[in-house]
């Protein structure tokens, strides 16, 4: 089987598993990010700013652990571009850690100002706030150098896309139907505009302002997306899923808040995908099991949840209509023996995958040195690849 055929085969495998068709084997999607740098014998400061080192780390991982799909091929958190422009105190990295400070770009009162003209708001509010006095001193040479680094970064992304093709690795989902990912209003408010603290307080102190932002976001940003989904007229078989979204903001919300700010709009999005017989992967951080009742009536094949803190067996019991991605805990990968890891991987495959509906993956983004031991990663990868139910 050549790489092109392998890629098509893997897409079919992922889609069948998501659609609760029994597959000949369980696909392994590597939820692995920067851990591969350590596993290749490098440190973060070496790899994050040097494309050659990063590529070496990615190839090391792909050769050592032949997985069916991977979250990241070294293109996340590339710092050359931001450093060329002059780092604004938003992150730091060293040999072992990348840290990003939580900053708020808006207040609840300025949310609509952002929405009126995001580029103007970024230029006049976000960037001056981020860079302080140095914002005024950004001269032509800095801009030119930043652009150069940006183009080098784009080149690297395109190069790594070819590497994925060479290894027969499919993309998870298209960035479309709009340019960029599909982002419900609450997610952009929490992660990009207000920050965790301010978002949490605003849900109590100024809920009407959030409602207004959400209503406008729906009309101006989401309605065109719904139309694009309808126009697509069915699944995109080049990818494992028709869409991927992140669910993070629910971690701040009690049920009443979820029902007010999140669910009506998420439901609308899911309904559009369901009407068009497409599938969607929802990557969740924290627990989503307490919200199971909202998802229980959707047909099999629509939803795949990549779960983090929820017990996968309890999740299957609560939501037998939802495919599960994940399950393999980093607790075990980092603290267990290869035998213990394989025994748990077998239980996952046997109990969750015997009738389809399961994609093997790590429960957390495997990022830090301690998130997994190499011998454990090797053992479960080999087991899942060879195991037949």
């Amino acid at each position: 089987m050549n790489a092109k055929e392998l890629k098509a085969e893997r897409v079919r495998l992922f889609r069948d598993a998501a659609n609760f068709k029994k597959t000949e084997r369980i696909p392994h999607f590597a939820n692995v990010v920067t851990w591969k740098v350590f596993d290749a014998g490098h440190t973060l400061d070496e790899a994050m700013t040097n494309f050659d080192v990063m590529e070496e780390c990615v190839l090391h991982f792909l050769d050592k652990y032949p997985i069916d799909g991977i979250l990241d091929v070294g293109i996340r958190n590339q710092f050359n571009v931001t450093e060329a422009f002059g780092e604004g105190g938003y992150y730091y990295y060293d040999k072992e850690v990348i840290g990003i400070h939580d900053h708020a770009h808006c207040t609840p009162e300025t949310l609509l100002e952002y929405l009126d003209d995001p580029i103007k708001y970024a230029w006049e509010v976000i960037l001056p706030k981020k860079y302080g006095e140095s914002w005024e001193k950004k001269d032509k040479a800095i801009w030119k150098n930043t652009f150069k680094e940006y183009m080098a970064y784009i080149k690297f992304i395109l190069h790594m896309a070819k590497v994925m093709d060479r290894y027969g690795l499919p993309g998870l989902s298209p960035n479309n139907p709009m340019k960029g990912a599909v982002v419900p209003a609450v997610e952009i408010m929490m992660s990009d505009l207000l920050g965790l603290q301010q978002f949490s307080v605003a849900m109590r102190r100024s809920p009407e302002l959030l409602d207004t932002f959400i209503q406008r976001w729906e009309v101006e940003r989401m309605e065109p997306i719904y139309q694009k989904i309808r126009d697509a007229k069915g699944p995109n078989y080049k990818y494992c899923f028709d869409s991927s979204i992140l669910m993070l903001a629910h971690n701040m919300m009690n049920k009443k808040q979820f029902e007010r700010f999140y669910w009506p709009y998420l439901k609308k999005l899911l309904d559009v995908y369901a009407e068009n017989k497409m599938n969607i992967r929802i990557f969740t951080e924290g627990s989503v099991l307490r919200l199971a009742e909202y998802f229980k009536d959707y047909p099999k094949g629509l939803l795949t949840f990549h779960i983090e803190q929820d017990d996968p067996f309890e999740f299957r019991e609560a939501l037998p209509n939802v495919a599960i991605m994940g399950g393999m805990t980093t607790d075990l990968l980092s603290n267990g023996t290869p035998e213990e890891c394989v025994a748990y991987a077998k239980r996952l495959c046997d109990e969750l995958g015997k009738d389809g509906g399961f994609i093997f993956s790590e429960n957390k983004m495997v990022s830090y040195r301690n998130d997994a031991r190499s011998e454990n990663m090797l053992a479960v990868n080999e087991f899942v690849r060879d195991y037949r139910i």
């Binding site: 850690v97 965790l196 949490s200 701040m252 808040q257 803190q309 607790d331």
Partner: protein, 211 residues
């Protein structure tokens, strides 16, 4: 006549406007009943903790509760500072350990510890073991709470626990955050572990009572 039971309910319900109105009423005579008001706020925070445990409240509510408690303290402080009967509080250290920048969970725990009457020395995030030892020695602290979210934090927690033990300090140590577990607690020689702020508060209260 001030209704402190109502203040407990108002805090528990996270009703900011009503809380401010009651506390401003308390301060109208200069705050002669500020201590009772503070006790009511603390009981209200216990109610918040219980509602979190029951699943009625979630993380955002705890963050908001912390904001309300900070406001309550600001309003009552002028009267509380002058109070002669205010007894000594148990001083303790709280921090996110080295190599970890997460502070949301730590800040929630700090608000609830302060609401429970602790004098919390918050050392911040990414705190080196030596710093914890130094402050614990200087301020004769007997309770240390170490927070972390990354698996990497477990190493730093162990280093901190080791450093405290090596310095011969008689401290009770609780570790908290997503990666901690009974096994991790035992392996690093900490005294307790917690995933919820409420458990942290309860454990620290027990230790303070024993001291």
């Amino acid at each position: 006549m001030l209704d402190f039971d109502n203040l407990v309910d108002v805090m528990g319900d996270l009703d900011e406007d009503a809380m401010i109105e009651i506390l401003e009423g308390v301060m109208e005579d200069g705050g002669s009943e500020a201590e009772k008001a503070m006790e009511a706020c603390q009981k209200g925070m216990e109610k918040v903790g219980s509602l979190f445990e029951e699943g009625e409240y979630f993380v955002g509510d705890l963050i908001y509760a912390g904001e309300l408690m900070t406001q309550a303290v600001e309003i009552l402080t002028p009267a509380l500072v002058g109070s002669e009967s205010a007894g000594p509080k148990t001083k303790m250290i709280l921090c996110t350990v080295k190599d970890d920048l997460h502070d949301i969970g730590k800040n929630i725990v700090r608000s609830m510890l302060e609401a429970a009457g602790f004098d919390v020395v918050d050392l911040g995030i990414d705190v080196a073991p030596e710093k914890v030892v130094e402050v614990a020695k200087e301020q004769n602290i007997k309770i240390v709470a170490l927070s972390g979210v990354l698996t990497l934090a477990l190493d730093s927690m162990k280093e901190t626990v080791d450093a405290i033990r090596a310095a011969g300090l008689d401290c009770k140590i609780i570790i908290g955050g997503a990666p901690v577990s009974p096994e991790a607690c035992a392996a690093m020689g900490a005294d307790e572990w917690a995933h919820s702020p409420q458990k942290t508060i309860n454990v620290c209260k027990e230790w303070a009572a024993e001291a």
